[in-house]
């Protein structure tokens, strides 16, 4: 049966017709095009490349940007797209987040007209894929310490360094590489065919298996003057991209949580042990009610985040609070759902185990749970508990 979502507090009524239509369209697409094959891809550790063209046709890539072949939806609609995609699989949502928020957004916000014309229409159509290289082997939560460097050459820049844990790395046509030029972080659009650029997949993941994760090596990669993002310098560049992507993750986590709740509820109503369906036992009900309660709160956080973003009032602390909360409750819900499904919960016949494992990555990337704690902690106390 088609997925209905959970709407215990009538939050649907707060959405515009257009936002609901976007949500329902993607929901239906996930049912028909993603769910039937995702388990196989996950087990095989492959990303469903065939989806990319469909994403382009539907307009899901860079949807909230204007012009250059992008649909120009509201931020809330963008969030709902992430929610529905992640209801399918966090890896699929990750693809879309990286493409839309981490690569298209900075090109749109900080790129030159030529960079926009060159990349945005192709990326919106799914004809070009991007990746975002910030994290390095020795610099995760502290990206500002990055070693990747850029030096000026006669006709451009030369890049050297290693980026690790890079989503889409091996399938990308363009890498947005953050590197230090004269000690200042700058963004460079590096076509992945440039000599000296190599990508190697990171295999053996037990999380986000339906997503490509790579290590990027840049060895004397020469790029032209036109490769640098002119509009931004310093950590504000990558951080503003991450704010966009985290916004989507706040919604995405709700999608994964709803998928697990939905599965746990229907399983619990069907599975009879002792005298009745296990949904009739108090301990199971407690778990289900906790899920409903946490999902509802997470939905309200996400919804409010959207409206704050639309009115231009959203702060980084508010995004951190929601990313921290929503991913963490989703992870807990996936585990409880796994528990309710008993032994069936550990097989790939059901979704909750896949979500449970995926959410470990989501908990860590885009700022770990604890780093977001420190961000909000600093916001409310005025005291930074980490070195800036």
């Amino acid at each position: 049966m088609a997925f209905r979502g959970l709407d215990y507090y009538g939050i649907d009524e707060l959405l515009t017709d257009e936002e609901r239509l976007v949500r329902d369209t993607v929901r239906d697409f996930v049912d028909r095009a993603i769910l039937p094959g995702i388990g196989k891809h996950w087990s095989a550790g492959t990303f469903p490349m065939e989806l990319v063209a469909h994403f382009g046709e539907l307009g899901l890539l860079g949807s909230s940007l204007t012009g250059y072949g992008c649909a120009g939806t509201s931020p809330t609609a963008y969030g709902l797209i992430c929610q529905e995609l992640e209801r399918g699989d966090s890896g699929i949502r990750s693809f879309a987040s990286v493409q839309s928020s981490l690569v298209m957004f900075p090109i749109h916000a900080f790129g030159s007209e030529e960079q926009k014309e060159r990349w945005l229409p192709a990326m919106a159509a799914g004809k070009a894929i991007g990746c975002f290289g910030l994290t390095e082997p020795d610099f995760g939560s502290n990206p500002n310490g990055m070693l990747t460097s850029a030096v000026r050459t006669a006709d451009g820049y030369r890049l050297n360094g290693t980026k690790r844990w890079i989503t889409n790395g091996n399938i990308a046509q363009v890498a947005l590489v953050w590197a230090k030029l004269d000690g200042v972080v700058r963004g460079f659009l590096v076509p992945t065919e440039t000599p000296g650029f190599t990508a190697r997949t990171i295999d053996g993941k037990w999380s986000l298996r339906a997503s490509v994760t790579s290590e990027l090596h840049l060895e004397d990669v020469n790029v032209g003057e036109d490769a640098i993002l002119p509009g931004v310098s310093g950590m504000r560049g990558p951080l503003s991209c991450l704010s966009q992507a985290r916004f989507g993750i706040c919604y995405g986590a709700v999608g994964a949580a709803m998928a697990c709740y939905d599965e746990a509820l229907s399983y619990a109503k069907d599975r009879v042990q002792f005298s009745r369906p296990i949904a009739g036992y108090q301990l199971v009900q407690r778990k289900l009610v906790d899920m409903v309660s946490e999902i509802t709160k997470a939905q309200l956080l996400a919804f409010r985040l959207g409206r704050l973003k639309e009115s231009g009032k959203l702060t980084a602390g508010q995004i951190s609070l929601a990313k921290r909360n929503n991913v963490s409750i989703a992870r807990d819900i996936a585990r409880d759902a796994r528990d309710i499904l008993g032994a069936n919960g550990v097989t790939d016949d059901y979704q909750c185990g896949r979500h449970m494992l995926n959410l470990e990555s989501v908990y860590t990337y885009e700022g770990t749970h604890d780093i977001h704690t420190l961000v909000v902690g600093q916001d409310v106390t005025g005291l930074a508990a980490f070195d800036r």
């Binding site: 257009e18 239509l21 539907l58 307009g59 649909a71």
Partner: protein, 274 residues
């Protein structure tokens, strides 16, 4: 060429029907476009475009219309988002409507709009009445082809060749325009709709298309007229009356029998099936 597609909203057929106090409980119902009407919109789109190039034929227009309350505008918007050009909503409460009232309104709308074809779903999956298309053809005195599983628009656009699945096979019927078409599930198969514009080799994806996000954004700016039944001079009132609603009796639990002789005996004595 102009095609008019009347659409109806129905409670989501994937959800279980709830009955409360002798009536269908529609509180919190999830309303969707009647699936057969979605196929009708898809048929209209395929007839009036080059599917391979993704481009509309010049001068083509698709008008969607619904007769229903304000909320039903949402279903019109979703038809506009998939590519219809214009919408008309005739404001009316569901209980003020039956097939006769709907047909009376459509007759007037058709008189005003003068479409070349009216394409409808073969039936709405709420009441499954299967009446509006046929009644409309009767009232207008137009040719009709019901339960279309395939359709081909002639090059001169003056007629359509319609394939209908009947018990003995497929019946082909050519009707002239203006005419009435009601569509069945198979109409949205990859090669069911031909228009002498889309290359014959082109295969559509199975099923109605998704609205693209750009389509959804564009739908906001497409015109939607809101009218009243009285604007069309419709004074007809429903002649069908709801007498009562009850769910089919729940099925009794099955029995497991020990052996075949017992089964045969039970089938003969209890079920009286043999």
């Amino acid at each position: 060429m102009k095609i008019l597609v009347p659409i109806k909203r129905v409670p989501d057929p994937a959800l279980k029907t709830k009955v409360k106090d002798g009536a269908i409980d529609l509180t919190g119902a999830n309303w969707v476009v009647n699936p057969f009407d979605e196929y009708a919109v898809e048929t209209a789109l395929r007839l009036l475009e080059n599917g391979e190039a993704g481009a509309r034929v010049a001068g083509a227009e698709i008008v969607v219309v619904t007769i229903g309350p304000e909320d039903a505008a949402q279903q019109l918007r979703s038809a506009l988002a998939t590519g219809a050009d214009r919408a008309i909503r005739v404001d009316a409460e569901d209980k003020a409507l039956d097939a006769g009232v709907v047909v009376a309104a459509l007759v007037q709308i058709i008189a005003a709009e003068k479409p070349d074809l009216v394409i409808l779903g073969k039936q709405a999956v709420d009441g499954d009445a299967n009446q509006v298309g046929q009644m409309l053809a009767g009232k207008l005195g137009w040719a009709q082809a019901t339960f279309a599983a395939s359709v081909e628009l002639a090059a001169d656009q003056k007629s359509v060749l319609v394939g209908r699945e009947v018990d003995a096979g497929v019946e082909y019927k050519r009707i002239g325009t203006p005419g009435i078409l009601t569509v069945d599930l198979r109409i949205v198969s990859p090669h069911s709709v031909k228009n002498n514009v889309t290359p014959a080799t082109f295969a559509y994806p199975d099923g109605p298309r998704y609205a693209s996000l750009k389509g959804i954004m564009a739908a906001k700016k497409k015109p939607m007229d809101v009218k009243k039944l009285s604007d069309y001079g419709v004074t007809t009132t429903p002649v069908t009356r709801e007498v009562g609603i009850e769910l089919p009796a729940a099925r009794a639990a099955g029995q497991i029998v020990a052996d075949i002789p017992t089964l045969v005996k039970k089938l003969a004595d209890e079920a009286k099936a043999i």
